[in-house]
Symmetry: C2
Subunit: 103 residues, 2 copies
DNA sequence: TTTATCTTGACAATAAGTGTCAAATATAAT
DNA sequence: ATTATATTTGACACTTATTGTCAAGATAAA
C-alpha cells in the first residue's frame, strides 16, 4: 500500500507531464513563481480559486482535485487532535442529518 | 428529528442550569463577558483551551465537548462547499489509511 | 561556465481572529 | 416607574495568519 499523493505532488507531476514551467503556470495564476513552488512542495496551501484554475490549466478533473484539496484542508485542521477521527465521524453525522432536514 | 445542539447552545444551557452568570464564567476564562456572550450565541468561536476550561467549569464530559467543538469547526470549513460531503469521506479514508501505516 | 529553472528566506500588505470597553437593551425586583 | 443587574451590540485595538513580492542562492542543462 503506497502513500496517497498530496495535492502538491499531483500538481507538480501534471505540470511536468505537460512540460510546463513554474514560471508559465504561475503567470497564468497571476502569482509569483515562488508561491507556486511552495504550493507544489506543500509549504503553502493554494486557494480554492487557484485550485480551480490549476485543474483547468493542467486538464485535471476539477471535482476530484477540489475533493483532494478540501480533504487535505480538513485533515490539516485536526492534525494535532487526538479526537480528530471521532470529530470527523461526528461531522459526517451532522452533515447527513442536515441534508435530511433542509431538503 | 430535532436539530442537534450547537456548542454555544450546550454551553449556555449548562451555564444556566448551574445558575452561573456570564460574568462569572467569563472571569474564570479570563475574558470579557462580551466574548462569552458571543460564543454562546455562535457569533464567535471559542478556542480549544477555552473549550477545555468550559468543560471543567460546567462539569461537562471533556471528550464529548471537544468532539462537538471540532466537528463544528470542520463543518464550518466546508459549509459553502458543494463537495463538502465527498471531501469529508475522503478525509476519513486518508485518516484510516495513515493510521494503518504509521502504527 | 554560462544560462535557465527552481528554491529559500526576508519582508510587506492584507485579512482573520481575539480581545477590551462603553453604550444600548433586556430582565427582575422593589 | 425606578432602579439594579445581566446580557447584547458595535466600534475599536492588538495580534497572528495568510498571501503575496522580491532578490539572492542552489540546482540542473547546455
Amino acid at each position: 500500500m503506497k502513500k496517497s499523493k498530496t495535492t502538491g505532488e499531483i500538481l507538480r507531476e501534471e505540470r511536468e507531464k505537460k512540460g510546463l514551467l513554474l514560471r508559465q503556470v504561475a503567470a497564468m495564476l497571476d502569482i509569483d513563481t515562488a508561491i507556486l513552488s511552495k504550493i507544489e512542495r506543500g509549504e503553502r496551501k493554494a486557494s480554492k480559486e487557484q485550485i480551480v484554475k490549476l485543474a483547468e490549466i493542467l486538464e485535471l478533473d476539477e471535482e476530484a482535485l477540489i475533493v483532494q484539496y478540501l480533504s487535505e484542508k480538513i485533515l490539516y485542521e485536526i492534525k494535532d487532535e487526538e479526537l480528530g477521527s471521532k470529530a470527523l465521524k461526528a461531522a459526517e453525522q451532522k452533515m447527513k442529518y442536515n441534508n435530511k432536514n433542509n431538503s
